[in-house]
Amino acid sequence: MSLIYLIPLLPFIGFVVNGFSFPNISKQLAAIIGTIPPLVAFVLSIQLFINFEGTTQILHLADWIKLGDLQIPFDLQIDALSIMMLLVITGVGTLIHIYSIGYMSHDQGFGKFFAFLNLFIFFMLILVLGANFTVLFIGWEGVGLCSYLLIGFWNQKNSYGNAARKAFIMNRIGDLGFLVGIFLLIQNFGSTDYTTIFSSIQQGHVPDNLGLIAFCLFVGAMGKSAQIPLFTWLPDAMAGPTPVSALIHAATMVTAGIYMVIRANVIFELSPDVLHFVGWIGLSTALLGAIIGLFQNDIKKVLAYSTVSQLGYMFMGLGASAYSASFFHVMTHAFFKALLFLGAGSVIHAMSDEQDIRKMGGLKSKIPITYLTFLLGTLAISGIPPFSGFFSKDEILAHLYHHDLLMWSLAILGSACTSFYMFRVFILTFWGEFRGTEKQASHLHESPWSMTIPLIILAVLSVAGGLINLPHFAGGNEFLAHWLAPLLPSTEPLGEVSFLSLEMGAPLVAAFVPPMLAIFIFSSKKLIPSEDGQIQGIQQLIYQKFYINELYDLIIVRPVNFFSVFFGQVIDYLVIDLFVEGIGKIVQYASTEFRRIQTGNVGYYVFMMVISIAIILFMGLKSWIL
């Protein structure tokens, strides 16, 4: 049992050791110190998974905050959901650690990087293991911190630093909502423990403002999982090293929002309006991400928008109460998106840090393993059967079909965009002629084993990941759904569908047709996206991400900056201080005036005295005698 503590503790130890010994130890040692903890944690997680008996365990670690009647302990909760998350985090995490050994080998901040990665794993594990919302919040903010540190890892560059800050601040906006949610929970339930809150709700104690609670929690999720309107940080976050993009901004951290909603499904289930809202936010985000992704030329940016869009899908699923389907997509997405990012990293590595797909092309023979694995990833994300993405996405779509036809059809549209832009990237990168410089050409090389092995493993998982929750019609037994069932509201089975029905057919069309189109445009006609200056019209609008960043800049950043200066210079100094110092000025003025009555002339003095006496006598006599 005590081994469970080791799961989060090990990465923390890794962080401490690497963090304190940096930069004094060798890279090899740092790599070992950094990689072993998640690996061991993964092994322990597997053991936990195997031995899991289906009952929720709560491990009391320590008291944390005790405030009168309110107790917030450091409790860890082991149940079906957290075990699955553990597996994803430690598993994908380990692979990305291994990948980083190769990817970061030339970097000066090698040890530091591993320290941060380990810290991230630690916080992510706290996030999923926490037995109450407050401990979850520790992880929630902690991963935000790591995200900040890692996006700004190459901190000499100011634009990276800005991206890092943007990520942290946008997350903080969501966190405020989350915090409010926690306060509301405390108000209503006097506790933040999952078990207390959920059992209380299930026993019929449903507070009036449960919808508000759900909404506030979801605001937190919007920040963390990059949903409209808090999504713009995620594409910018690609400034960080690619393994970071893979681990934090694709596979794990950004799915924390989905994890949280699933965790709190008891609350959301009783707030249908909020759930509806979640679905539509998810849909809008999915579509927006997919559309913007269509015209991006930076390989990581495309993947980033794709992530935004996929996260949107997951929320759509949640909106339709398809918790297990969404979670299924979280897992498969972790595999294929991590794969794609790592593949992209490998490409970038090969191309000597070039990220623009217009300057790539024809890489398939030069870096075959990357090519092959990237292909598998692309197929998976496009939802082509029998790859994992097909099953998970299809399950969400199937639920949507029964939930809301409009949402479903828009989702299909988004799905079509996804497969189009993924194939666009894929073709432009690997097929056709090489369009880079000669210097880059001479450097082209396949990545070292430490990078390719994780690619291969992830490729296998992307292909076979669907097995976890293989639906009945494909001969599976929906393992994941059954595994999570005790934690989720009971849903009616969707029933059998035929491949020829609209419900099944449309996604397939959306998966197959756009790639053809992409092949036609970019391979057969050899079209290459035009240079930045030549894009016009709606294409420009999309390429510039609908100017949302600029809009935010205009309506939020600039006013705040303006008010900062305005308050500081104008209000403080001209208004408040004017008043404060005005009092002093008045005294000074009075002082200079008062001294004039002291003229120095005796006659005048006596005159003043006589006048005063007269006044005093007059006043006195008036009040006493008259």
Partner: protein, 465 residues
Amino acid sequence: MTAIIALSLFGISNLFWGFWFPRKVLQILTLLFLAIGIGLTAMDWNHELLWFGNMFRTTNTSINFSLIIQLAAFLVVALSRGFGADDEHTHPAEYYAILLFSVVGAILMVSFDHMIMLFVGLEILSVAMYVLTGSDKRNLKSNEAALKYFLMGAFATGILLFGITLVYGATKSFYISNLANIIAATAPESMPSFLYIGVLLMLIGLLFKVSAAPFHFWTPDVYDGAPTIFTMFMSTVVKTAGFAALYHILSGVFGGIYSTWVLTIYFISMLTLIIGNVTAAYQLSVKRMLAYSSISHAGYMLMTVSAMQSSSTSTVLYYSLSYTLATVAAFAVLILVSEYQTGRKEKPEDYSSFEGLAKNNPGLAFCFTISLLSLAGIPMTAGFWGKFFIFSDSFNRNIIYPVILAILMSAVGIYYYFKGIIAIYFKNGDIEKIEVPILFKIALWFCTIATLVLGVYPNIVKSLF
């Protein structure tokens, strides 16, 4: 009482010693006389007695006031090393004699039980002060101050006398104790109306002496023009005696018709506070600032007087003492610095002359700071408790707005007192080490330490009163 006789005799004898002894010896002698005076006064403690045909009464309160007055005089004498440096025209023996006489006058003013004693005491004190003010004979400022003081003082005496006469006319008595009884025994309606005029005129005459606005006009000019050592004497001894007399009259005689004069005193105290503090804020000369500050302190003390609480006596005493100690120290440093700066600076008494004092004279700077802090009423100094007792008495009478005004005005006070502190600590200047005579040093440190001790443990004195 014996102190009065002794001090008068000493004063006369001083005039003779002046033929034989140099200034140093005279100074020591005078200190000795004052010490004897203090001793004799203290011996009367707890003996309430009437003297001179019941015209003079010693009570513990009057003894306390007498002690404060003599202490102040003692300090002034200890600090009086020059009287205008070595000059054949100065006559130290006369000055010391006059000082002793004026102390006698002051003691009469605090212990009178008959209007004649009040008048005589007041005139002894005033006439002595006219002389001392003009003692720097070839200094036009001193001349001018003397004439102003003299003319206005005589005028005020006239007013006071007219007031006394009217009160006498209304009550047929000059005795304080009788007056109180007569006023208490007679119904207000049957009083002749000129009693009230008399009361007011008497008050005005005394308010002039304590320099309450709008009868303060002489104060800044006279304080400014007089030699600093006598300014020190005026702002401590004369003021304390004036207050004692005023308080004695008000509490002893007119307590029965409290409501008739209290509003007047309120307004006068508020006006005094405003004029004193606000005008002081402008001053460039420390001496003039201290003059206005003494006006403002009159305003605070008037508040207690108008509150008329059982504790007011001790408050007035405590305040007088703390004010005396701080003022003496401030003037003492002013004397040293202005003497040092004479010839070096155009205006040796300005704030600018103090700049950089702390660098080479930390002791002087410290004493000056403490005295200013005490005047400003900052905790740890005697002035703080003085203000505390005053506000506390006033609140007990439910006097709220004057207290709030006083609070605001003491904030203004902090402004100009700290200007001095800023000058000595935080401005750059080049004042070398100033030689301080030993007596001077003792007196200065006595004031400073007493201010601090009273600030930390006011009970030492407060329990006596």
